[in-house]
Amino acid sequence: MNYRTLGLRDKEYDAIVEGLGREPNETELHLFSVMWSEHCSYKSTRRLLRLFPKEGKSVVQGPGENAGIVDVGDGWGAAFKVESHNHPSAVEPYQGAATGVGGIIRDILAMGARPTASMDGLFFGREGARSTRRLSDGIIRGVGDYGNCVGVPTVGGKTAYDPSYDENPLVNAFCLGLVRLDRVIKSSTAAPGQVAVLIGSPTGRDGIGGAAFASVELADETKSSRPQVQIGDPFAEKLLVECCLELVELGVVVSMQDMGAGGITSSASEVAAKSGVSVVIELDRVPLREEGMAPWEIALSESQERMLLIVQKKDIELVESVAAKWGLNCASIGATTPGDRFVLKYKGNVVTDVPASLLGGECPEISWPSLSPEDLNARQSFGAEQIKPSKGWEDAVVSLLSHPNWADKSWIYEQYDHMVQINTIVGPGSPVTLLRIKPNGRFLALVMESDPWKCHLDPFSGGAETVAKGLRALVVCGAVPLGMTDCLNFPSPEKPDQFWELEEAVRGMATACREMACPVVSGNVSLYNETSKSKILPTPLVCIVGLVDSLEDFLPSGRWKEGDRLFLVGSPGGSLAGSAYQCVFSGKPRGVPIPFDAQKEKAFLERAAKTAKGRVAESGRPLVGGGLALALAKEAIESGIGARVNLDAEAKPLSLLFGEGGPRAIYAVPPDKAAAFCRIWQGFPVNRIGKVGGSELSVDGFLKIPLEKLIQAWRRP
């Protein structure tokens, strides 16, 4: 077997030979090809990921574990992470999406946390295309069927359509779990003399080489990749979650790993490498569901719903009895010993014997050449301000509201159980999801954001804007941001202009995180999202978790009341570059998005926090896709009441109504609180733009739309 056909590069092979002091055998070669794949090793991006700030006063666990953890008070932590399942979902949408949900749940479980809430970022090709229908139907059903059955509510997410995802749909699965901080499980705590126990489904050939498959472009004839997609069983996952949490509660889990990419090899070698012990695995002891599997297939199988636990010898019987109660397989498949070896035995023979730190540690980094795209000037040059709505302002608002990217998404989220576990206070469909934390009476606020169009035009600003959008939404609703997780979805890094976009986007995100004091505690990278025909727009996606101490501190959206004064805070106009308006009316993003301005962002966040804390507003909503016009329309729709708005006639109407970018928000303020509101926003642009009331949304000189018509457009009959 040639190492090149397994995807290893010359330099990597040389490093393996040097590390081993000999040539690897075939089994070892398979193991390295998976562990040193882009998907498992982050070899192209490790250098970039170091740019993210990882420290923060609430950070309990930063990157490097199965998930990050932030402190949510009173001895409790929130473990969370977002992960991609793009390649599998492109090939087998239903199973790809389902196992994406299952995989991230096990990552959270591996920290000893009870999975409490999921969110999903879904990016589909152009709406109406047959392939989009097939992919989106399968993906949405896959997310729903898995999450519903396993009993973890899907409480929010993001769905967007763009031709760049025609052949490369994206599925980013986020999960958050609650964990008592004195019960956190880590992968670095194993010691010699302990037992490696495999709990869960039997091992089969499904998903072999999945990690390596996710590390190259999709072949045009992707059917041949089907065996690399895993099959999900949410019922088995539910039993596995309950079983492992019972074992954590009993205090018998020394260390725990989920079996995701790279299967037994990945989970066992990571424990060994991080704990500084050797692990010896007897592959014959792994319960199998098919015959004739080669040792490397057993070692690399990505069969779902399995966990690897490291336990003390004395606790084995207890572990077995709990697994039996839940009807799960439980096999002692190996042991830890002193040293730094990762050893696989099969039928009495040693089939692998390599340094654990070499296999499960860090493979050589790759430094791809980076060059700004030749067409960057063309992308940024177009005078976007020129396109006027041909059918008038009212039609423009209605068109945007009924566009699948900005329309009501209840047709998706009503297929997901978003209430089970009874913590959902504000569910999907709102800018921010609010969950109660039952054990301490506080509340978690969650957001998911991305902005591929702006990242395409200016990856630095787009990356920063993506982070800023999430933080603004959290702070406007009264939450204190605690930490972030991100998923970097990009095409191949091997093309210099594409690597440049990746690099710039990460620099932008990292800058925003540092300036706005938001640590990154976990994340995932998905590269090679392209085929010979198309590639995705740069799509970094972020999920940010915030804390709200009490419901009184929470400022909702969509709560306008008759007589409220409407205020616009922030610059009156925005940029049309990469805006919703531009995407709908010109089809192509063009221009220069608003650059990131740290001072302005901080000034905004400070005042937004005071607004929520001071309880001077009824309703607040940051401006995002569709700018002021869509923010007004959505507030009116959700509140069930209209408003009369009068804008400063000086500004350019397009950028005024539909411009995006930068810190801006609208607030509805009761008349008697207006003075206090303005005091808080002193030193920041603040304009009174109208008054709530009536059954139509009118903007003097521009439009007058009955509420009924707005609702109809938004619901897309």
């Binding site: 729903g144 069927d145 519903n148 059955c149 396993v150 009993g151 069983d233 949410p234 019922f235 088995a236 539910k238 039993l239 109660k325 839940w326 009807g327 209840s410 989220y413 009503e414 297929q415 997901y416 159980d417 978003h418 209430m419 089970v420 576990q421 009874i422 959902t424 206070i425 109660r436 039952k438 419901l551």
Partner: protein, 235 residues
Amino acid sequence: MKVAVVVFPGSNCDADVAHAVEVTVGASVEMVWHASEFLPAGTDLVILPGGFSYGDYLRCGAMAARSSIMKDVKRFASSGGLVLGICNGFQILTEAKMLRGAFLPNRTLSFICRPCALRVERDDTPFTLRYKAGQVVRFPIAHHEGLYYLDKDELDAMEKRRQVVFRYATPAGEVTDEANPNGALNNIAGMVNEGGNVLGLIPHPERASEPVLGSVDGALMWQSISEWIKGGGAH
């Protein structure tokens, strides 16, 4: 009040319903594993919670209905004890033949999760004392197989015996086809057995039992049961 919540493999609303009865009426709750043979002594109410028992892999509720504990649940019910099956629990009750009828996939062929308006048909059952007949309440629904089915003759007979306790309705209380989310015959959302002591309910009262969750309509059910038990309904 002593409540036994039966936990099947795949139950996922067990902790929710336990929480709801604890915080609303201070019930003492015992979680009972499906493989147990007997309910705890002194049980006043048995709850079969929602979820996906056995993954819904054969037919919803079919495997759970044959669990070891169900024998004692049947004995408990036949001696007049109160049994409440919610969502998957209702499906288990029909599979166990403790309630008549069967469930088909929703007519939308999709899972549906959202708050739903229901009209209370009877306020003279142990589960609904605190409601008023005709009152409209809001409980969330979350299911894929909620289309209640029964042959016409049996359905008519059941209606005659006034076994229907909740129907899907408009917020104004009209029982219409538009207000029926899943196509259940006669808009049936909840029904009792002939003895009135076993209630099957597709919507989730435990998701509407605290002000923070946006509705306390479900709390009235726990208060009704508690009041009935205190009034000597227990045995």
